[in-house]
Symmetry: C2
Subunit: 716 residues, 2 copies
Amino acid sequence: MLNLHLNQTLLFCFQNLVFGQKIESPNKKLSLTFAMNADGEPTYRLNLGEKTVIRESRLGIELKDKPAFTKGFSIFKTDTITVNQTWKPIWGEVKEIRNNYKELAVTLQQNSLSDRKLLIRFRLFDDGLGFRYEFLEQKDFQYFIISDEKTEFNLTADHKTFWIPGDYDTNEYAYSTSKLSEIDALKGKSVQEIGTKSVIGANFVQTPLMLKTDENLYINIHEAALVNYPAMHLKVNQQNFSLSSQLTPDAVGNKAFLQAPCKSPWRTILASNKAADILTSKVILNLNEPSKIKDESWIKPQKMVGIWWDMHVNTATWNYADINNVQLGSIDWKAVKPSGKHGATTERTMKYIDFASKHGIDGVLVEGWNVGWEDWAGNWKEEVFDFVTPYPDFDVEKLQKYAASKNVKIVMHHETSGSVTNYERRMDEAFRFMKKYGYDAVKTGYVGRIIPRGEFHDGQWMVNHYVHVANKMAQNQIMLDAHEPVRPTGLHRTYPNWLACEAARGNEFNAWSSGNPPEHETILPFTRLVGGPMDYTPGIFQIKLDVYGKKEQVHTTLAKQLALYVTMYSPLQMAADLFENYEKKLDAFQFIKDVAVDWDDTKILEAEPGDYITIARQAKSKDEWYIGAITDENARISEFSLNFLKENAKYVATIYADAPDSHWEKNPMTYQIQSFLVDNKTALKLNLASSGGAAISIKPATADQLKTLKAYKKGK
Amino acid sequence: MLNLHLNQTLLFCFQNLVFGQKIESPNKKLSLTFAMNADGEPTYRLNLGEKTVIRESRLGIELKDKPAFTKGFSIFKTDTITVNQTWKPIWGEVKEIRNNYKELAVTLQQNSLSDRKLLIRFRLFDDGLGFRYEFLEQKDFQYFIISDEKTEFNLTADHKTFWIPGDYDTNEYAYSTSKLSEIDALKGKSVQEIGTKSVIGANFVQTPLMLKTDENLYINIHEAALVNYPAMHLKVNQQNFSLSSQLTPDAVGNKAFLQAPCKSPWRTILASNKAADILTSKVILNLNEPSKIKDESWIKPQKMVGIWWDMHVNTATWNYADINNVQLGSIDWKAVKPSGKHGATTERTMKYIDFASKHGIDGVLVEGWNVGWEDWAGNWKEEVFDFVTPYPDFDVEKLQKYAASKNVKIVMHHETSGSVTNYERRMDEAFRFMKKYGYDAVKTGYVGRIIPRGEFHDGQWMVNHYVHVANKMAQNQIMLDAHEPVRPTGLHRTYPNWLACEAARGNEFNAWSSGNPPEHETILPFTRLVGGPMDYTPGIFQIKLDVYGKKEQVHTTLAKQLALYVTMYSPLQMAADLFENYEKKLDAFQFIKDVAVDWDDTKILEAEPGDYITIARQAKSKDEWYIGAITDENARISEFSLNFLKENAKYVATIYADAPDSHWEKNPMTYQIQSFLVDNKTALKLNLASSGGAAISIKPATADQLKTLKAYKKGK
């Protein structure tokens, strides 16, 4: 059928030379118009019904030492097909994903360049558009260097924008909300706090970029399937509201070294009149390649606790000793005097193993277990860690035996300190070490400037590195959680062992910086998480902190920390606080124990970027639902129906809510927990404190509960 | 004793503040004077008896973002010790090496910089000087970046110089011979022929640099123990004949990232009134660290033949097919049509194995065995080879079994095409492959521009890579022969598995370029080989060539090709020609079969850089001697005594000499072979043709030979 359709289109194209073409999304709401302008420049427009999402915008690629793919084009042919299929992710927010789009493939030809061709492929979904450049193998065109990409996303007006500074090295900024014309990346929130940064300029921002028009149109711009190509940032023209692609350069100033046949990543534009549709869109996943992993049985969504927050709040350190000069292999660690503050000790790890085992937590992350932390950061040093030598007070063998006896997995930690040269040289040995001691998951880190020197976190060389690591770990049946990498683009579909990334400003910033403003977690799902799951490390119960003698705090209530396990999607969730803090509030910790990390269904009940999000998710293969509701600095009432529950069934909803007196700043650690009988007719009404939230578990009611529990009544 | 001596010196220094100090070499001939000038700049002078080798020259290091180690110094203390010991190399030119020097260690202090200290260590041998900078661990001085090294080698006059252009990426130039004032690196010999080059400028040259003064003083400037530091080139001041260090920069323009305590490589100056002393000097080996390899039993000096010259003379190709676009892993090679010209086939390899086995050659090198050669060079491409996938016509398993049955080893080939990123990512797998199939030696290659892009072959990142490879191969009991690396600095003492390097213009250039001028092989031992053994690939019998339809030729006679096995020292010697060419001249090939690759003793009988070299070497643990005599374009008579032979013993000398009508250009392939009885009273007189030579094997005479052979008579 498809083939036949395809052939007919071809026929049609040859009969009448096409100068432009319009396609509609399966539900006819989104429409794409492709056209050539007078200079033979390819352009596209995107409309949602009557509303213009993207006005006429040019497409093109500039090459080093070769004529550009920008103008002088004519259309050689256009092919259209319609695809409508479904597929099942190994893990995710829903059980099944529909991949339904209308495709337009335009083959362009530069007559003045002996008919050199370029293919631009558009895929138009009901909730968004993806397009990419495809470089065909052709005469005298094989190896080429991209010096610049000239993709435009021309907007219609001075939209409200949720942005962080365009930066080749980091994405750990707080979000600024402003009109496009008011963007100043050099004065963006928290810019001064970031150590390793390469801000591009005042008018550059990162993707995923979230916008909202005065007509209440929600737009998200990002990319999908970033492989063997540098990450795209966006240059903002503050006069005409045109955005254009800004690729991350390499050490010698080029953007990408490519070999035909090959393709660019997909450029994606999500658009809807409903904010919720941005959160449920599967466009980016659909544009990624299917899983490369045949046997996926070893890949397990999971929760972990660990030795980590201790260091952020300075109750322990990564380093073992108070020395300030480590040369790998030159130190007899047994002869070194320990500082007494080292976090990753055998004893403390065993306590975490006990806690995890007792409460059904799968993993225990241990950072600072291996030698080199005494002067690990900031020196642009090649040999920092060897990834196989534990400190004398960390007994790998004993701990692995103990963890196994308690049915808990220790999670490996590979901090590279940005010396990727060193990590790649030692990776095979590091993996052999993991296999020998039974580790099956690793948290990687890329803090600091990259070695090879001159490369950026977001450049082609590093993009190849991240994929190389995911691939090599897949071959070794190792699960990956990458911190400080380039922001995700849906590659977890292709490499499902790549469970999560940080690649944004995580909860940790609350411990030692201006922190994450109350709105932060209401923006992330509309920006960073559009690309993939985030290891945000929620679940901080001790919200008021004293770090290095400074008063710090997490900028949420405790109930909001619980709600994040639902609103901040990840198949790998950390319960980030010290286990001692959980033991003081086991009633609240019960939600973290119960909440699932893998889902059959997801409902966005309420959503407005920068203001609030309420999400309900059904646990994998269970008749259990979990709801998270969060708000920004403004207290609010969240009301929604439970009509997604099965008909004629009674459930017990346990509501972990802010207390009447809760306030993120004045009184963040109060909460109340109540259980009620509910059914699919129930409508809930929740009071969320300033930067507060609510977390709800919903499970089928037992006979006993039916007798003892009251039905939920509004206002209760 | 040493300690006592040391303490006395210390005492002495504290009593009288020293402003300068003179030390003499053990035999008192060389003298070094260290002094501070008026600006508090450290300086040194080197004299050989009455002759000045190096006039007052400054020493110093400039740092990035820190005050320089150049001026404002006072002497904190000086220590002197005398060392006289011997050590035995695992393999080499002599059985035992004497390490005898006077050391002066000067600790300098910058009073204006809170007494920041720098140590300069001099070691004065009878035949040369070595000195290095030592960066002490001290307050506020730990991590630092070297932006420039300010070491001067101020010469006394416009000496005759044997030089190649200073170049950060290659050393494969023909030598120019000129006055210092006449050096023009941009117009140096063969500059236009080199593909990947980074010539520094008109007045920059490489080390080892060979000079000769009008007073017939021979001077050689180089470095020893180049580790974690960039290679040093030399800037020539053509007015005052001052040379100064020019370090290879990294991708961001810095020279070296270091961490105290650490040291620079040794800067070396060899000096003698006899050219021969430059060739016998062990200064550079003595300045390197002892072997890091505990069990060295698996390290074996050896000879090899192989599938290699075939490709240089275009009778075969590295690539399997005539396609021009290979993407690793994307090609089903069995479905690809072979060109029919592929060299590394199972059949041809078996023929080489048969030949090697029959003639007692240890190894068979096979290049072009693995997929990727169709478009391997010149594209600055990251993924070129995977080092584990053979072409369909190369049966690894079958060949290894066959080679083992014939007691021959196949030598692995790892061409990186300069994509070191790719090699480092795949190295572990490549080594596992080698171990699985019984390879124990590998020839590596670094043709083309380096990836990580922006790095040079001679920069710190690559220097670390070469050492990393030697180290990792040692751990895997693999022997290394590196082509296109940085030039050697004696590291084969520390890593004796690192048998040889190319790192200069090898015999291969004779096949397809202007070639190597007749003087080339008389210069290399005074320059490139001062740093370590060279895989020059001698032994070309078919000297007149027809390559790509062009008439080419090797620029020597056949007898000179034989002599190179003695004059061009290497524990790894290739018999580089096609085995078919050897089978046509098995009488001459007998010398290649007989000649040793490891030695108990070495005598330089005659030597003048650029003109001629005659060397006699005693085979390891044998009463056998091998002599090689070569000359440049000028025919000459070589006369020397065999007084190094044992007393009262008769030997048979088999002389492989040029024929009366031999001439490198007009008639290069004629030769004559004669055997005579000789003893330690015999003086030989050999006629060397224009770019000719002679090779002689000397073995104890058998009773039978004593009867049948004539005694050698001059003029015969």
